[in-house]
C-alpha cells in the first residue's frame, strides 16, 4: 500500500469506510477519549514547528503489515500470523486476549474488544451468518475480549483472485476505494511494473518508524 501524503486531506473517509466494511464497532466520544474504541484505520495529525511556521502532516495509519511483525513474534497462541502473501492476520478463534500484541505494536494498529458488539447497524447479506468467534474474517461479529486489526480487506483480495480480477486496479481495500483524493494506492509491491512500484519510483517515499526494523509494507509519499 502506498499513501500519498500530498493528496490526503484528512477527511477520514478511509476510517469510516473501514468501519463499515469490516463492521468495526463504533463507540461514544467518551470511549474514544479513553481509547476503548477499536480502529483499524486511523488518521493522525502531526504538527511540527512553532506558531507562525507550523506544518501539519495528516497521516492515515492502517496496520503496516510488517514483514517482521512484533505482534506475530509475541502472540503466544498463534492467533496472529502472516499469510503467504504477507498480510498479517488475526484469528479470533485462537486469540486468548492477553493483549501482548497491543503492547508490542509500534504503530498502535491493534485494538481490543472492550465490550460486546452492539447489534449490527446495517444489513450485510453478502457475509455468512453470525458465527461470533469462529475462524478468521470475514465474519460480521466477534465476541468481546479478543484483539482485532486491519486485514488489508483480505476478503476482497481473495475474492478478486478467485474471480480473476486485477488486485490493485479493479479491486482495492475499502479505505483505498473510499478515498476521494485517490491518496491510497494498493497493489503488489513485488511487481516491478505494478501501479505501486511506479508510484514509489516517482517520488521520495518513507515508512513509519523504520528504526524499529519491522519493514512495514505501507509506504508514504512525502509532501
Amino acid at each position: 500500500m502506498v499513501i500519498d501524503l500530498d493528496k490526503c486531506t484528512g477527511c477520514q473517509s478511509c476510517s469510516v469506510a473501514c468501519k463499515a466494511e469490516n463492521n468495526v464497532p463504533s463507540g461514544s466520544p467518551e470511549e474514544h477519549t479513553r481509547r476503548l474504541t477499536p480502529f483499524w484505520q486511523k488518521v493522525i495529525a502531526v504538527s511540527s514547528g512553532e506558531y507562525p511556521s507550523v506544518s501539519i502532516d495528516l497521516i492515515p495509519m492502517p496496520c503496516m503489515h510488517c514483514d517482521d511483525a512484533p505482534c506475530v513474534t509475541v502472540c503466544p497462541a498463534r492467533a496472529t500470523y502472516k499469510r503467504e502473501d504477507g498480510i498479517v492476520m488475526q484469528d479470533f478463534r485462537r486469540c486468548i486476549g492477553c493483549k501482548y500484541c497491543i503492547v508490542a505494536c509500534p504503530y498502535g494498529a491493534r485494538s481490543f474488544n472492550y465490550k460486546e458488539q452492539e447489534e449490527m447497524p446495517y444489513h450485510r447479506p453478502d457475509l455468512p451468518p453470525e458465527r461470533a468467534d469462529r475462524g478468521p474474517w470475514p465474519f460480521p461479529r466477534r465476541v468481546h475480549g479478543v484483539v482485532e486489526k486491519c486485514t488489508f480487506c483480505f476478503h476482497r483480495i481473495d475474492a478478486a483472485i478467485e474471480e480473476g480480477k486485477k488486485v490493485g486496479e479493479e479491486v482495492v481495500p475499502a479505505c483505498a476505494e473510499a478515498c476521494p483524493a485517490h491518496a491510497i494506492a494498493f497493489g503488489d509491491l513485488d511487481d516491478p511494473d505494478g501501479n505501486v512500484a511506479q508510484l514509489l519510483s516517482s517520488r521520495q517515499a518513507t515508512r513509519l518508524r523504520e528504526e524499529m526494523g519491522t519493514s512495514p509494507k505501507v509506504y508514504y509519499l512525502l509532501r
Partner: protein, 397 residues
C-alpha cells in the same frame, strides 16, 4: 533434623473470623471476575494505550514474592543454614500459594479466560518465540517443581530436598528473568525496553520475597504466640538490605543509561512526568529509603518491630514499583511519526482504576491469605511449640 513441625489447631475465634473475612473477600473477587467476564474489559481501567491493568501488576508482583521466598528456602535445604530451618517450610509453602495467585491474576486479565489452556499447548499450538509462551513453561514448571519440593520436604528426605532445592531455586531465578523479559524485550515501549529489566525483576523479586517472608513469619509466629528469634529476623534484615541496594543500583543504572542517550524523553517522563510521584514516594521512598534507614540504624535493626516495619515498607514499595512500570510506563505515548501528534492518538494514556478491578485484585490476595491460613491448619508448617504453651488463632499477614 532439628525441631519438628506441627499444624495449627485453628479453633480460635480469631482464626475463624479471619477465614470468614478472607472467604467473603475472595467471593467478592469471584463476583467481580464474573462481571468483568460477562461485560468485557470495559469494566477495567485499561485501554488500547494502557492495555494491562491491576491484575497484571498483581501477577508480576506475586511471581516476584513467590520466587523470592522459594530462593530463600534454599538457604536451609541447599546451603544447610540451620538458623533458618524454622521458617523454611513456610517459605516453600508461601511460594506455592503465591505462584498460584500469580497464575490466577494472569487468568483474570485474559480477554477470553476460557481459552487459557492454549497457553500451555507448548510447541503444538503455541508460538514459542513469544515470551508469554516461554513463561508458560517457566510458570507451569515452577508450580510443579515447588509442589514436588514441598512434598519432599514433608517426607523429610534431606538429600532429595537438597537436589530439588537446587533445581527449584534455579528455576525460580529463570521465572523471574523470564517475567522481566516480557517487559524488557518490547522495543515499541520506550519506558520498558531495557536489557536490565530481567535482572531488575530478579532483584525486586528477592527484595520483596525476603520482606514478605519477614512479615509473614513475624505475624504468624506472634499471633500464634511462638517465640520470634531476634537473630534470625535480624539476619534476614541484613539480607534484605543487601537486596535493596542491588535493586537500587540496577534501577539507577537503567535510568542513567536511558538518560545519557539523547533519546531521553521516555525516561524523563518516568522520572519527572505527571505520575512520577509514585516512583519517588513509593518505589524509592517506601521501597528503599525508609527500609535502608531502619536497616542501617544500629539500634533499630535489632528490634523485630522495626524490622517488620521496614519489611512492610518494602512489600508496599515493590508493589508500586511494578505498578509504576506496568501502568504509567505503558501510558507514555508512542511516536508514530516525528513531530507532535495531535489529539487522542498522541496523548499520554489515562488510567483510572475501576472498582471492579480493585475488588478483583483484593479478592485474589484474600484467596491467597485464605489458602495460607488453611495451609497452616492442615499442613505441618509451623515449628512445634515448647510444651504447655497452647496455640491461638492468627490473622492474615
Amino acid at each position: 533434623m532439628t525441631g519438628s513441625f506441627i499444624t495449627l489447631e485453628g479453633r480460635s475465634r480469631g482464626y475463624r473470623n479471619a477465614v470468614i473475612a478472607l472467604g467473603a473477600l475472595a467471593l467478592a473477587g469471584l463476583v467481580a471476575f464474573i462481571i468483568s467476564y460477562v461485560a468485557g474489559h470495559q469494566t477495567f481501567g485499561s485501554s488500547n494505550t494502557v492495555p494491562w491493568g491491576l491484575p497484571i501488576v498483581l501477577a508480576i508482583y506475586l511471581i516476584g514474592l513467590s520466587a523470592g521466598s522459594l530462593i530463600l528456602s534454599s538457604l536451609t535445604y541447599v546451603f544447610g543454614r540451620e538458623e533458618y530451618r524454622p521458617i523454611a517450610r513456610l517459605a516453600v509453602f508461601l511460594a506455592v500459594v503465591l505462584i498460584f495467585g500469580a497464575m490466577l491474576a494472569i487468568l483474570v486479565d485474559l480477554g477470553r479466560p476460557e481459552k487459557f489452556w492454549r497457553l500451555f499447548m507448548f510447541f503444538y499450538m503455541n508460538n514459542m518465540r513469544s515470551m508469554f509462551a516461554i513463561n508458560g513453561i517457566l510458570y507451569g514448571g515452577y508450580f510443579v517443581i515447588s509442589l514436588v519440593y514441598l512434598g519432599i520436604i514433608f517426607a523429610g528426605k534431606a538429600a532429595a530436598a537438597r537436589i530439588t532445592g537446587i533445581i527449584a531455586a534455579a528455576w525460580a531465578i529463570l521465572v523471574h528473568l523470564g517475567t522481566g523479559a516480557i517487559f524488557g524485550f518490547i522495543a515499541a515501549r520506550e519506558a520498558w525496553f531495557s536489557a536490565l529489566r530481567p535482572l531488575e525483576f530478579l532483584a525486586a523479586a528477592l527484595t520483596s520475597g525476603v520482606a514478605l517472608l519477614i512479615v509473614a513469619v513475624v505475624a504468624t509466629f506472634t499471633l500464634t504466640k511462638r517465640e520470634v528469634k531476634n537473630d534470625m529476623i535480624a539476619s534476614l534484615g541484613r539480607l534484605l538490605a543487601a537486596f535493596i541496594i542491588v535493586l537500587l543500583v540496577l534501577v539507577f543504572i537503567d535510568k542513567l543509561t536511558h538518560l545519557y542517550a539523547p533519546a531521553r524523553d521516555a525516561v524523563i517522563y518516568m522520572l519527572a512526568g505527571p505520575s512520577s510521584w509514585i516512583f519517588w514516594v513509593f518505589q524509592i521512598g517506601l521501597g528503599a529509603v525508609v527500609p535502608l534507614v531502619i536497616l542501617f540504624n544500629r539500634k533499630l535493626n535489632k528490634t523485630v518491630r522495626w524490622l517488620m516495619l521496614a519489611a512492610a515498607a518494602v512489600v508496599v514499595g515493590v508493589f508500586f514499583e511494578r505498578y509504576y512500570l506496568v501502568i504509567p510506563g505503558a501510558a507514555y505515548p508512542q511516536a508514530y511519526a516525528p513531530g507532535h501528534i495531535e489529539g487522542v492518538w498522541g496523548a499520554t494514556g489515562s488510567f483510572a482504576l475501576t472498582p471492579i478491578e480493585i475488588i478483583l485484585a483484593v479478592g485474589i490476595v484474600a484467596a491467597l491469605g485464605l489458602f495460607y491460613l488453611l495451609g497452616l491448619k492442615y499442613l505441618e508448617l509451623t515449628p512445634a511449640l515448647p510444651p504447655e504453651t497452647k496455640d491461638d488463632g492468627e490473622t492474615d499477614p
